[in-house]
Structures are given as structure tokens and as C-alpha cells.
Amino acid sequence: MKKFDLFITGVGGQGNILASDIAAEVALAAGYDVKKTDTLGMAQRGGSVISHVRIAEKVHSPLIKEGEVDILAGFEKLEAVRWAGYLKPGAIAIINDFAQPPLSVNFGVDHYPSDEEVRAILKQRTDRIFMVSGTHCVTELGNARTLNIFMLGCMSRFMPFKVELWKKSIRAHLPSRLHKINIAAFDLGRKEIGDGR
């Protein structure tokens, strides 16, 4: 049995906690031990949010050690590179091409990393960087809030769980009126990654 340490980062309101809940349920249904935990500050909205999902035959710590992350899903570019040190050498990094600059950047006090800088930071750990246009794709699809499910679709390409298991867990976590569009977002995410090379 392989282990999968997933690290899902974003900004409050992007739905990464739901995404991590779904991934954890899928792993449980597939017969793995699983632990997950979220770290978020005191903000209701707009702060950094990180979810750790640990999948293995037996999991002890719910927090992933630095340098142990197998798959990073960054819903926002700055929040993705902030945690680059957690990546295992050669890890998968899936980065949504979307920037939400903090207030200090708007005020011209701080600098938001350019795409080159984002790549340069991640490259110190891995070459397997997938810059995906999730926000663009799901906006076209008609519901920007399905980004989290799109990102799950991307991540699912690198895990051995059956597509139907993912879809079942997605349906279980969402009201039925949102099933169709979220399943479509999941499929789009899978398509975006292709064969993962």
C-alpha cells in the first residue's frame, strides 16, 4: 500500500476544506487509514487555509512533516508557494493560475510573486509542476465555486482510487442541485491534467 500525503492550500472561501473532506472519505472508502486536519487563522474569510490529508495503511500524526508532501494542490498561487518547503523532492504540485493579492500588495507595500518566481520556488523541490487554469475553466463552466472540485479532479489523476468513488463522495458532500455542475468540474480537472506527464 502506498502512502499519499496531500496538502491543499488556499484562501478562506475557496472551499479547500470541503475538498480535503471529500478526498479523505474517498481514501476511507478505498480501505485506507486516513487522518485530516485544517489549519486556519481566526479569519472567517480571506485568510490562509491549509488542509493536511494523510492516507496510508496506518496513519499516526494528522500533520504532514516538512518535506513529506506527495501532492500539493494550491488553489491560489501565493498560498501554494508559501508552503513549498513541505514538498517531498519530486512531489506533484498542482497550482491554480489565480492570484488574490493581500491588502499589503494592493497598497504597494509588498510584492506578489511573479509566475517565474512561483516556478523558481517550486522547482527547488520538484519539476512536476502543473499550472492549471482552474478558475478560468470553472467560470466558463458557469460556477466559480466549483474550483475545489475541479482541483480534486486534477489530484485524482495521481491517486489509484476509482473515478466512481470520487464522484460518489462528491455527491455525498453536496446538495443534489449542485451535483451535475460539480461532476462536470471534476471531469474538467481530470482532463486538464491529462495523463499526468
Binding site: D21, K35, M42, Q44, P62, G67, V105, F107, Y112
Partner: protein, 606 residues
């Protein structure tokens, strides 16, 4: 049945299956979700209490009738509830009484860090500490049994990572409730703590502790997991998990009951291993008592006593101690430009923004981050603050809070500054839930001692910070049912305060007029600023837009600190996906050039 549950959900389910009939709490991170998970059960009475002290007292009263009772709070909540907690330890219980103390190492969302196991030691009551959701579920049932068997309240202590991480629980139990109807046989010697009766109870508490210590030696959740004999780990709580990951070869003594400790078991374990490392979050609580037995152990000389632990920290400790081989650390990530932080902010459309903008502009403290520091002058207005989302107004650009200590402290702080002779005007700012929690008694103090401060109650109709719980001012219970409602202005007027105003939080002119009026008058005043929390308000249909032709780039709209207002160079613009539109319009009201307009108007003009 296997379920993926958070520690808090597992505690709630464990309590439900253990037959809990009454559950009380005041919301507080990381404990809030326990009561929320219990509330939907129809056969449990659950309430958000006014504060933790009341939660504890209601819980104690309930358990006196024979009902199994659960009381939940965050670490600092037990400071508020300390008085009835120690009283409960003295009277003992009738139905089982379990108190969950959810500690917050690393201060994710608290005003301080504290290890509440010291409270249980002070009260001489037992502590159970789960290591994951499964043991949270299992220990809850045992906590009720221990409570009833030893006539004692039981503290069930978690830390953030236990409460807020999900792990697999094999749910084996079913709800079992005592069929005995509630009854309260009068027993003055047990329940009336006149000094003579308290003195009678006092030796019983010591006897209880001795019996509990004997019990701890056979308690199945205090157990040895045999491994190699070079290294022994004594661990409790989440520390066990980190150590299990880092030291797969070691022997373990895992303690599910950390007070009183199992003396014989500790000695037996010490005889089996060469060196011992104690792994526990926060203070050397176990370590000190083990050392007092004369057993040599290591602990806090290698493991920090501040903040949350994790496997990286335990690994580093193992290397320092010389029990783990050194491993080359992966090269550090280098960044060309430092990455900007993302401090939490008041939300777009937050009803607190307008009030803080007014207070900050009257106090001349509005300043863009990074703007040049002006010469430090004594502020003409001091703003004492309190605990809630609004504490975020401390950050630039509002800079609108000068003190925050603990729940309800803003009003007392303000009175104290005035009475000490501070010449500045003083405003105390407090949220609705916090005011009802512990702002009423200091306001009575202000009336009684003829204070001249101004108290602003930010009434957003919810306990927003912890995730929108109901409170006495909303008139809705934790179960979502109609309840009694405390009307803030009636309450305040009832205390005898004459200058009481209720203003609309989104009307800057009204807010400014009220603040100016009250600050200028030499008497106690209360301003209730009312406006619904933005997170619970549907977004307005028409977002605001900045008309570039009319905008002179003065930057005043940026000073309200709304995350929806961004800038490209000097030119501010509004992100329509974040703007609350006609539900807010604060930026529109403060723009001196009237350049901010409904986006529909601007489109029509074009």
C-alpha cells in the same frame, strides 16, 4: 460502523451514546463544534449558555438531578468558569458530569496559551486525554462512569489538533439513557457549601484522589505498548501520535488518564527501558509528577513547552537527545523577494467597518500600511477593545483598537483609565455576544461609579468569530428554535443609563453624529451599532464601482480596509465578486469626490 469524525464530533457522539441528557457550552475555538454536534439530538437538552460560568452552573444543577451532563469550553473559558468548577469538585455530582476543556496551543484563536490540566490538579479531579477521535469517543463513556463511580466532575482535555482533526472511528455503541426520572433528594451536607459542610467535604476530596490514583493503575487507557528497551516514551494526547511516527522502535506508555497518574504502572515502565522521554503538549505536567516519583525522565529540556507540537519538533528533540540518528535536512527553500503575509481582515460589507472608520478618523489614526510614521502624539481618543472579529480593527489601515485582554474587559479598562485620570476621551468597543457574556457587570460598575466613558456595542446579531452561534440577543436556541430574547437597548436603559442610542451600522453620517454627541457629553453613554454580519447576509445585487474620471486617487476609500477595494498603482478599483453592493455602501459614503457609484448606474451612463 467506521466513520471519519473530528475529535469534537467523536466527543459529541460518545456523550450521546453515554446517555447525556443535558449539554451546555459557550462557543470558543477549538471547542465550539461539540455542542453543535449534540444539539440536533432531540432527546438531549442543549443550550448556548450566556458564558462559561453559567454553562458550568447550569451543568452542575442538571447533574444534581441525576442527569448525565456535558459542559464544553475553550481553555480560557475555564478561567471564567473556574469558580463553579472548583465548587463542583467540592460538592461532587449526582449524575455524571464531564467538562471538556479544549486547549489551544500555538494560540490559533485565543488571547493566550494555557495548559488547563493545572486546573484539574487544583480542583483535585481526574483528567482524561484522548489521542485521536476513536479514543475521544471511547473515553467520553468512561468519563461518565468515572464521574459517577468516584462522585467527581471529570475533565476531558483536548488540544486543538485532537479537536480539529478527523480520524477513523469504529462506532460500536448505541444510546443508553438512565430511565430514572430526574429527582433531587435534599442533602444539605453535600450541596450547601456552608463552611461547616465544605469542611466536611474537604477530606473526602483527598480520599477520592487516593482512590482515583489506585484506579489509574488499572485503567485500560493507561497502557504499555512494548517495543525496544533502549527508549521509552511516556506520552499523552496528540503528542503520542507524533512520537509514534518518529520512534517506531520505542516502547510506549500512553496515558489516557493524566491526573492522578498511575504510580505503579510508571515504575514498572521505568524498569523496562533505559531512557525515558515524556512527550506532552504545553507544560511539563506529567514530567514534573513523574520526576517527583524519583523516576529520571527527559522532556521539556528537548521539547518546547510553548506552542503546538508536531512530528518535526519531536524528531528534532530525538536528535538533540541522541536517540535518533541525524538525517541531512532537505535544503531550505530560497525566495528572491519575501512572500507577503495574509493577515485576517474584516470582511467586505462588515457592519463593524463604518464604526471603526469613524472612531479612527476622530482619533486621527487612519494610516495606510507602510505610510511614513507621523510624530508620535498622545492620542486624543483611546479605544479599549474586546474579543471578537472586531479585534481585527487593530490592524492598519484602521488602527482602531488599543487594548484587548479577555472577554468583557473593554468596559472595565475604560473605567480604570478614566478613574486613573487619563485626559483623553475613552471609548470601549464590545460585540453583542461578548457584551452579554461578560460586559453587563462592568457596565453596572460604570453606572454605579459614575463613569463618563462611551460604550459602543457592535450588534451584528450573532457570535461571528466562532462561526455564527446564537446568543441571548438573537432569541434563537442552539437547536434553531425560538427562545427568549434580551433586547440590548432595554437592558442598558434598565441599568439607568440615559444617553443610549441605536444607530444603523451602515449609515456613516448617523454613526459619526452619535459618536461625536456622546464623546462631547460628560456622562456615561452607550451606542448600539446595529447591522447584520456580512457572512450571513446575501450579497447585494448591484456592486459598487469607482468612476475613474471622477476619482482623484486620494486613497480615502482604501482607508476603510475593505478587502474588495484593491489598487493598481495609485488607482483604486472594486472587485465586483467581493463587493456587498447596496447592503453596505460605506466606501460610497466616505468618497469625497462621489466617484463611487452603483455599477448599474455607471453602465447605464456608458
Amino acid at each position: 460502523m467506521k466513520k471519519l469524525l473530528s475529535g469534537n464530533e467523536a466527543l459529541a457522539l460518545g456523550a450521546y451514546h453515554a446517555g447525556v441528557r443535558v449539554a451546555t457550552a459557550y462557543p470558543g475555538t477549538p471547542s465550539t463544534e461539540i455542542l453543535e454536534a449534540i444539539a440536533p439530538y432531540k432527546d438531549v437538552y442543549a443550550e448556548w449558555s450566556t458564558n462559561e460560568k453559567v454553562a458550568m452552573e447550569v451543568g452542575l444543577g442538571a447533574c444534581y438531578t441525576g442527569a448525565r451532563t456535558l459542559v464544553c469550553m475553550k481553555a480560557v473559558g475555564l478561567n471564567v468558569a473556574a469558580d463553579p468548577f472548583l465548587a463542583a469538585a467540592t460538592t461532587g455530582i449526582n449524575g455524571g458530569l464531564v467538562i471538556v476543556s479544549a486547549d489551544d496551543p500555538s494560540i490559533h484563536s485565543s488571547q493566550g496559551e494555557q495548559d488547563n490540566r493545572h486546573y484539574a490538579k487544583l480542583a483535585k479531579v481526574p483528567i482524561l486525554e484522548p489521542v485521536d477521535s476513536q479514543s475521544a469517543y471511547d473515553l467520553m463513556a468512561l468519563a461518565f462512569e468515572i464521574s459517577e463511580r468516584f462522585d467527581t466532575p471529570v475533565m476531558l482535555r483536548t488540544t486543538t489538533r485532537i479537536s480539529h482533526s478527523k480520524s477513523v472511528v469504529n462506532v460500536t455503541g448505541e444510546r443508553a439513557v438512565s430511565t430514572k426520572p430526574p429527582s433531587f433528594p435534599r442533602n444539605v451536607q453535600k450541596y450547601v457549601m456552608l463552611p461547616v459542610n465544605a469542611r466536611f467535604r474537604r477530606p473526602l476530596i483527598e480520599e477520592r484522589l487516593v482512590k482515583l490514583a489506585e484506579f489509574a493503575d488499572t485503567f485500560p487507557f493507561n497502557r504499555i505498548e512494548s517495543g525496544g528497551n533502549n527508549l521509552g516514551i511516556i506520552a499523552s494526547g496528540i503528542g503520542y501520535q507524533y512520537a509514534r511516527e518518529v520512534f517506531p522502535e520505542a516502547s510506549f506508555l500512553v496515558l489516557g488518564m493524566t491526573h492522578p497518574h498511575p504510580t505503579a504502572l510508571l515504575r514498572r515502565f521505568a524498569g523496562q527501558v533505559k531512557r525515558i522521554l515524556v512527550v506532552e503538549e504545553l507544560d511539563p505536567f506529567l514530567e514534573d509528577s513523574i520526576k517527583a516519583l524519583g523516576i529520571p525522565v527527559s522532556g521539556k529540556e528537548f521539547i518546547p513547552r510553548i506552542g503546538e507540537l508536531n512530528a518535526d519538533i519531536i524528531e528534532a528533540a530525538g536528535r538533540k537527545m541522541g536517540v535518533l540518528a541525524g538525517k541531512p535536512a532537505p535544503p531550505k527553500i530560497t525566495v528572491k523577494n519575501p512572500l507577503p503575509g495574509r493577515p485576517p481582515l474584516l470582511c467586505p460589507g462588515c457592519p463593524h467597518t463604518g464604526m471603526f472608520y469613524v472612531l479612527a478618523s476622530l482619533g486621527q489614526r487612519l494610516k495606510l500600511p507602510g505610510a511614513k510614521e507621523k510624530e508620535q502624539k498622545e492620542s486624543t481618543l483611546v479605544i479599549t477593545g474586546d474579543i471578537g472579529c472586531y479585534t481585527l480593527a487593530t490592524y492598519p489601515p484602521l488602527n482602531a483598537m488599543d487594548t484587548t485582554a479577555c472577554m468583557g474587559a473593554s468596559i472595565g479598562h475604560a473605567i480604570g483609565m478614566e478613574k486613573a485620570g487619563l485626559k483623553s476621551k475613552i471609548v470601549a468597543v464590545i460585540g453583542d455576544s461578548t457584551f452579554l457574556h461578560s460586559g453587563v457587570t462592568p457596565l453596572i460598575d460604570a453606572v454605579y461609579n459614575q463613569s463618563k466613558i462611551t460604550v459602543v456595542i457592535l450588534d451584528n446579531g450573532t457570535t461571528a468569530m466562532t462561526g455564527h452561534q446564537e446568543h441571548p440577543g438573537t432569541g434563537i436556541t442552539v437547536k434553531g428554535e425560538q427562545a427568549g430574547r434580551v433586547i440590548l437597548e432595554d437592558l442598558v436603559r434598565g441599568l439607568g443609563i440615559k444617553d443610549v442610542k441605536v444607530v444603523s451600522a451602515f449609515d456613516i453620517r448617523e454613526v459619526r453624529a452619535a459618536v461625536r454627541y456622546s464623546l462631547d457629553r460628560p456622562e456615561l453613554s452607550v451606542i448600539i451599532s446595529r447591522g447584520a454580519c456580512a457572512v450571513r447576509t446575501p450579497r447585494g445585487a448591484v456592486s459598487r464601482t469607482i468612476e475613474v474620471e471622477s476619482c482623484n486617487q486620494c486613497g480615502i476609500c482604501l482607508l476603510i480596509g475593505c478587502p474588495a477595494i484593491q489598487a493598481e498603482g495609485k488607482q483604486p478599483f472594486i472587485d465586483p465578486s467581493m463587493c456587498m453592493g447596496e447592503k453596505c455602501t460605506i466606501c460610497q459614503q466616505v468618497c469625497p469626490k462621489r466617484a463611487i457609484k452603483p455599477s448599474s448606474e455607471l453602465r447605464a451612463a456608458k
